[in-house]
């Protein structure tokens, strides 16, 4: 088992929480894991990414080589495109459809969708809307994680345990909200996949 994942988004969107949940679940599974993240200046509304590598064999590099990521999880549509050189030919993208516009020259969404439509394997969903409708507005990133779960090579129930572990100290209410967000993200993505 070997999964290389790029997580991307804009500083403050919560990609590190996604990475933390997956990492916790992977460690409990006895998998090897490396996760490189960005701190500091880049977090102030700039583009952020994290390289997450899971394997049942020891992992060498903290960074994923070009063309080897099986999955890009992006909380922002344009940011998913920035990391395409890392994606395998048959790799999957799981993407939030809603742009985070904090630059004056943000491209036309039609052009972004045109680029995304060229890629063979993708799931695009509005995680903020889904999270809001589910009453978990603050867990849009976990909706995203739910949608990406089928591609992680880790059982759904183990990801649930990861959430319990990571959010446990914030109380039962927060844990349940995130579990709910995970489930609805998973369900919506399954629906979308069946339509393809």
């Amino acid at each position: 088992m070997k999964v290389d994942i790029i997580l991307s988004g804009v500083g403050g969107q919560g990609i590190l929480s996604i990475a933390a949940v997956i990492g916790e679940a992977a460690l409990k599974e006895g998998l090897y894991m490396k996760q490189a993240e960005v701190h500091g200046m880049s977090q102030r509304g700039g583009d952020v990414q994290s390289h997450l590598r899971l394997s049942d064999q020891p992992i060498a590099s903290d960074l994923i080589p070009m063309g080897q990521a099986g999955l890009i999880i992006s909380l922002e549509p344009m940011e998913s495109l920035r990391y395409l050189p890392y994606l395998k030919k048959e790799g999957w993208l799981v993407i939030n459809s809603q742009p985070f516009v904090n630059i004056p020259d943000y491209p036309d969404m039609k052009m972004i969708h045109a680029e995304l439509n060229r890629l063979p394997n993708r799931v695009v969903l509005d995680v903020e809307l889904i999270a809001k409708e589910a009453g978990s507005a603050r867990a849009a990133n976990i909706v995203m994680l739910g949608a990406a779960t089928p591609f992680l090579g880790i059982e759904y129930s183990k990801i649930e345990n990861g959430i319990r572990q990571i959010f446990g100290r914030k109380g039962e209410e927060v844990v349940n909200m995130n579990l709910k967000a995970l489930k609805i993200g998973y369900d919506v993505a399954q629906c979308l996949l069946q339509k393809v």
Binding site: G40, M41, S42, G45, L84, I103
Partner: protein, 532 residues
């Protein structure tokens, strides 16, 4: 014991606690900040009464760490790479005095400058000071090097420099902990005055001692488990890796190395192993994260006709961090992705937060300076450096901690008017106060804005040393009370701010303006916490 998921920084922190640490001394700086933050948040560290408060700057941190070491205790001193420049005076002379309780100095270098103004490789400074250097290749090694490093430091009598880089500091992996040790009891060095009073006559003896210790350091390196020789049949090439470069090499040889490899994790460079590689192999490839430190040393090695590849001959880029791809390319492998970045993708630089007080300061300053021709704004290191970017484009410089005030003074001395400095509160106490005294002593015609958000914001909101006392500090240094003016950077005070800035620019002497409003990030966090 099970595995713990640790950032490299956290592995270092936990290892230090487990190894009997008595105090960490540091000033925040990416990518080193999380070491001290981890110790501050650790219940175990609290229970063991481990010192972990932030120091005012890296120099005061290192000197305090030395004091704790003098008293026999184990101590850790952490900083980002440029922080070691600030502490260099102390650093160079600890190598002369030596230490008593085990002392590790962590330098977190930032190749590719993710969050820094240069990418200096502090192995150069370690070699300059002539002390042993450790450089881990993974989080477990980082843990083990720190855990064993204190003992090694005590055995040798010298501090050890632990050099990590961004990808080690901020990458997470599973780490196995080792048994927790007791802290050292307080005890003083028997030959204390011979070692710690660096008067010329004594210092000459100490330098001879340091020179003599080099053989000892070399023996340690040559027998170190962190310097490993991997043999392979094809001697056409021999590869040397340092630190995390080993991981990128391994990534390119998933089924074992094709050529002999010398993995370096401890310096000085282990001469025996290097000689073996150089003698056995036709050509040498050096893979190191940062400057071509080993590569340059090898070029001085005997063995004429030796061909060395690395960052100096263009096999690898001279700047920036290594990647599995750049290393693969250096090995002649085909690298690269299947897809390219579409042209429509735009840069997304970091920006000042919405609602940040620095925004109001720059808006007001920009408007006032439009009224003058040749104004210049010298700025400093912090969130407010983002005032360089649109829509503000408000600053003309950002060089090193504290340089805003002193550059403004020098330019004013040269005749510039208005000569303005913009510095944050934490940077001011770090290195701005002494420069302010220069200004006051010469009555320099400068306008200094200390944009006070009551925290060390850029690194994530650590305590700022002068919070609540910035005016008192400035008054103490000698700024005239009528030209020491506090304001609140809010839209509703915009015209008043402009008026004050204008008045103080017009004053021919030292003015200090303190726009004060709490960092929007720390404020939001506090509000969240109080809701719970």
């Amino acid at each position: 014991m099970g595995k713990h998921l640790f950032l490299g920084d956290e592995a270092i922190a936990q290892a230090a606690i487990d190894a009997g640490l008595s105090g960490v001394y540091a000033y925040p700086g990416t990518p080193s900040t999380e070491i001290t933050e981890y110790i501050q948040a650790s219940a175990m560290a609290k229970e063991r009464n481990i010192h972990s408060k932030w120091s005012v700057n890296e120099k005061t941190a290192m000197e305090s760490a030395l004091g704790m070491s003098y008293a026999g205790k184990r101590t850790l001193c952490c900083m980002k790479h440029v922080g070691l420049n600030v502490a260099a005076d102390c650093f160079m002379n600890i190598a002369m005095s030596g230490i008593h309780g085990g002392m590790l100095i962590v330098t977190a270098d930032d190749p590719s400058m993710h969050s820094s103004q240069n990418e200096q490789d502090n192995r150069v400074l370690g070699n300059f000071a002539m002390i042993p250097i450790l450089e881990p290749s993974n989080q477990q090694e980082a843990y083990d090097m720190v855990y064993d490093g204190f003992e090694c430091s005590e055995r040798l009598g010298y501090p050890i420099l632990l050099r990590i880089t961004t990808r080690m500091a901020h990458s997470r992996s599973g780490v196995v902990r080792r048994p927790v040790k007791e802290q050292n009891v307080m005890r003083f060095p028997q030959d204390g005055r011979q070692r710690f009073i660096l008067l010329p006559a004594l210092a000459r003896q100490r330098f001879k001692a340091l020179l003599a210790a080099q053989d000892l350091f070399l023996q340690e390196s040559e027998s170190s488990a962190y310097n490993t020789y991997f043999d392979a049949p094809d001697k056409g090439l021999g590869i040397i890796t340092t630190g995390i470069a080993f991981n990128y090499l391994s990534e390119n040889y998933p089924d074992g190395f094709a050529y002999p490899v010398l993995k370096i994790g401890q310096y000085p460079l282990p001469a025996k192993q290097v000689e073996r590689l150089v003698n056995e192999c036709q050509e040498i490839l050096v893979l190191e994260e940062g400057f071509p430190v080993v590569e340059e040393q090898l070029r001085g090695f005997p063995g004429k006709g030796l061909t060395i590849h690395g960052r100096l001959d263009g096999t690898l880029p001279r700047d920036g961090e290594l990647t599995p791809d750049s290393v693969g390319k250096a090995l002649g492998k085909s690298v690269g992705g299947y897809y390219t970045v579409p042209d429509i993708v735009r840069q997304r630089p970091p920006a000042l937060c919405q609602g940040c007080g620095h925004r109001d300061v720059y808006d007001a300053l920009n408007e006032v300076l439009l009224e003058y021709g040749e104004a210049r704004v010298f700025s400093d290191i912090g969130c407010y450096t983002l005032g360089a970017l649109p829509p503000f484009r408000a600053i003309d410089s950002c060089i090193d901690m504290g340089a805003s005030i002193t550059m403004a003074k020098g330019a004013a001395d040269a005749g510039l008017f208005p000569s303005v400095a913009v510095i944050g509160d934490s940077t001011f106490t770090h290195s701005g106060m002494t420069g302010l005294l220069d200004c006051v002593n010469e009555e320099a015609n400068v306008t200094i804005i200390i944009s006070d958000n009551e925290t060390t914001a850029m690194t994530g909101g650590q305590d700022s040393a002068g919070t609540g006392r910035i005016e008192a500090i400035c008054a103490g240094i000698g700024v005239a009370p009528e030209h020491l003016r506090v304001m609140t950077p809010l839209r509703k005070h915009f015209e008043e701010m402009k008026r004050i800035i204008r008045e103080e620019i017009e004053y021919k002497g030292v003015s200090v303006l303190i726009p004060r409003r709490e960092c929007i990030q720390t404020l939001t966090r506090k509000k969240k916490a109080s809701r719970k």
